[in-house]
């Protein structure tokens, strides 16, 4: 039986796709939302210290699985390897909600400078650093929508570096646990400006969901009481309730269909029984993440798009970014570990921009859950990696170590990229994504700068021994904060979509996920991806109501 034609197809029910599904279906468009993964509930997914989105030695609790999925990774020395989702695959998640089910839920707005990096810092050799085609002010109303519709707890008035806003965050911020309070006080003594981290998490009941009950099994895990707001428990249910949106789970989209006039008419996908199916629509929106979105565009070759859709100028899959995480550890005389969740709660933005000698910067904060197995790799330089001394360190210091860490704003690099492997295919026979290239050499300088500040902060807090763990070394970025691979811009020669997320060369094809980011800010990206979802979805719905059918 043929699938009924609909107005819009959305590929990917993650941060961006979930928001677009709600915007379109509430506006009256008929929508099919495709998700390659399943509904992942707290009750259905067994997670633990070796099995989650935070510690995935044995498996990624929230997908994808190691059996059907793989990628190819090319290393700086030129060697290449097939990598599984629990390995160097650059994974986020694969389920309804994607990373927003298991994320830490920090809810950052990027700063005004983040949208104007080129203007602020000038050209950097070897980097495709650029301004966004939109300003912070353009996106501000969309940030506000994301904060109010999904629900954010925070108080930006305590952060003097926060960008201007029209409305406060809807819920009061979280209080600090022992470690965070200690860091908060130390930051004040240093003249820094500490404030509570904004969170997509209920500090009070909100949106029909209860308040967080402050346990620390949080970042990397689904919330047992649904206090964390992801797209799976906010906008996607609203989309489904509208009666206009059908969610098709366990359905892997393999190709965008181009007809003999060169028009995009729908997609092919493999359904839950691995049967190839066709779905047609007036509009197609790809929100499959910064790795899978370019893969899908590049796998959609035809005589009209011989290099893949949107890839006329070879920009699809370019500028893969993530975050170079960098910071420091400190050992304290007494226990600083506190199992009051979510863990991370205090941050500073004193070093996000206008730092001497480096481009950008990033926020610094304390950390979410620390797990015993992951702690076994946390050691000062030169300390034993195994044996009696290693074990003793674990015993003595697990509760005495605090960490300050932050995401450095990376320099986009043209050759850090996703393309499609010519030989390797996944379980469904679809050519897999290939990851290659490496970070800009200046990233490590920015990381060093931030790590020094993190170390200083820990020392002031009373750490008796500190060490830096400096990120940004050679290697490819991406991972849970992957972004940038289908950049938006005004010039079709140096970008993939226009400022509304529409692919330059195709009137009815849009992108709405982290791929759009021109750069990735010095913050976790999800709230910005959601805001872009509101922007792209709102634009389509608005035009549609005026009769524009994107032909």
């Amino acid at each position: 039986m043929e699938n009924r034609h609909v107005n819009a197809i959305i590929v990917g029910a993650g941060a961006g796709g979930g928001v677009v599904a709600k915007e379109l279906s509430v506006a009256g468009l008929s929508v099919v939302l495709f998700e390659r993964g399943a509904w992942a509930t707290y009750d259905d997914i067994d997670t633990d210290e070796l099995n989650s989105q935070r510690a995935h030695a044995l498996s990624n609790g929230y997908g994808p699985d190691n059996v059907r999925n793989k990628r190819v990774k090319i290393y700086p020395d030129g060697s290449s390897k097939i990598v599984l989702p629990t390995e160097a695959y650059s994974n986020n998640a694969a389920c309804v909600g994607s990373g927003t089910v298991s994320y830490g839920a920090m809810a950052w707005r990027y700063m005004q400078e983040d949208f104007k990096l080129r203007t602020t810092y000038g050209h950097v050799e070897g980097s495709t650093l650029e301004d966004w085609p939109i300003s912070y002010e353009d996106l501000e109303p969309c940030y506000e929508k994301a904060e109010w519709e999904l629900g954010v707890a925070g108080d930006d008035s305590q952060n003097p570096f926060a960008p201007p806003r029209n409305k406060p965050q809807p819920m009061p911020p979280f209080s600090h646990n022992k470690e965070a309070q200690m860091l908060h006080d130390a930051a004040l003594r240093l003249g820094f400006h500490p404030f509570p981290i904004p969170m997509l998490r209920n500090s009070v009941p909100y949106g029909g969901r209860p308040a967080c009950y402050r346990m620390r099994t949080c970042a990397g895990f689904a919330c047992p009481v649904s206090a964390k707001a992801g797209t799976h428990n906010t906008v996607i249910p609203i989309a489904l309730e509208s009666g206009n949106c059908e969610l098709r789970i366990n359905s892997v989209v393999s190709e965008i269909i181009v007809n003999d006039q060169g028009k995009i008419t729908g997609i092919y996908y493999f359904d839950a029984n691995n049967k190839k199916q066709k779905q047609t629509a007036d509009i197609v929106i790809i929100a499959a993440s910064a790795t899978e979105t370019p893969r899908l565009l590049l796998n959609s070759k035809s005589k009209f798009f011989p290099k893949g859709i949107g890839n006329e100028n070879d920009w699809v899959g370019r500028n893969l970014q993530g975050h170079a995480y960098t910071g420091a550890f400190g050992i304290f005389n007494e226990d600083v570990f506190d199992d009051l969740g979510p863990g991370a709660s205090v941050a500073i933005c004193d070093f996000s921009h206008h730092n001497k000698g480096i481009m950008g910067g990033g926020m610094l904060a304390n950390e979410f859950i620390r797990m015993p197995y992951l702690f076994s790799d946390i050691r000062p330089p030169g300390a034993a990696r195994w044996g009696a001394e290693h074990k003793d360190f674990q015993r003595k210091n697990f509760k005495k170590v605090a960490q300050v860490i932050g995401p450095y704003q990376e320099h986009p690099v043209f050759d850090a990229r996703i393309d499609v492997d010519p030989l390797v295919k996944d379980f469904w026979g679809i050519p897999v994504a290939r990851l290659s290239g490496f970070r800009h050499e200046k990233d490590v300088e920015g990381c060093k700068f931030m790590s020094e500040k993190a170390e200083l902060w820990l020392k002031e807090a009373g750490a008796i021994y500190t060490w830096q763990n400096v990120g940004g070394g050679k290697g490819l970025s991406g991972g849970q904060h992957q972004a940038g691979t289908c950049r938006m811009g005004n010039d079709p020669k140096t970008s993939v979509t226009d400022k509304w997320g529409r692919v330059h060369s195709v009137p009815n094809l849009f992108i709405a996920d982290g791929s759009l980011h021109v750069n990735n800010g010095g913050f976790n990206p999800a709230l910005t991806i959601m805001a872009l979802g509101y922007r792209v979805g709102g634009y389509i719905a608005g035009e549609w109501s005026k009769g524009n059918r994107f032909k």
Binding site: T41, Y42, D43, D44, I45, D46, T47, D48, E49, L50, N51, S52, A57, L58, S59, D65, N66, V67, R68, L84, T86, M215, R216, T217, F221, P224, D339, I369, R370, M371, P372, Y373, F375, S376, D377, R385, W386, G387, A388, H390, K391, D392, Q394, R395, F398, K399
Partner: protein, 187 residues
Amino acid sequence: MENSKKISRRKFLSLSLLGVGGVALISLNPFSKSTSSNWRFFTNDEGVLVDALAEQIIPTDESMGARDAGATNFIDKQLMGPYIRYQETYRKGLKAIQETCKTNFKKSFEALEWEEQTKFLQSMEAGKIEGSNWEKGFDKEFFELIRSHTMQSFYGSPRHGGNKNNVSYKMMRLDYPVIIGQNRYKV
């Protein structure tokens, strides 16, 4: 509702078992043991060696070490599940360790003095073991594999076969696992 939840959970489990290879793939598996052994994948001799390696990586002191906490059981179990891809590496690596020890010391690894064992593993870690069994970098690679699997066994959830009675969590003065809710699991 309750019922449908249960079904989906069972489905998920059976799927993951099949998919990851446990049950369904054993008979096809070229590396599975042939004779009777106490282990799922390892031979009894291999089990003794893995015990000794794990004990070096996390030794017994005032609290239990990795061997007694079930490291070999953990690795053996995972080699028939998510770590099926490492079967060949283990078979080859364990054999190489024993052959090198027999050539150099006329003894098996587990029969060496504690300090000799430590030295041997330090050379592996540094990539300094010589011999025809060790293609370039394999000593280091295999050491890292055993090191990380032993850490996983000892500091991971007991339900995967190691960390008997939460021994490592108790040692770290954790009253309960930091990842809560595991008491709900059936397997």
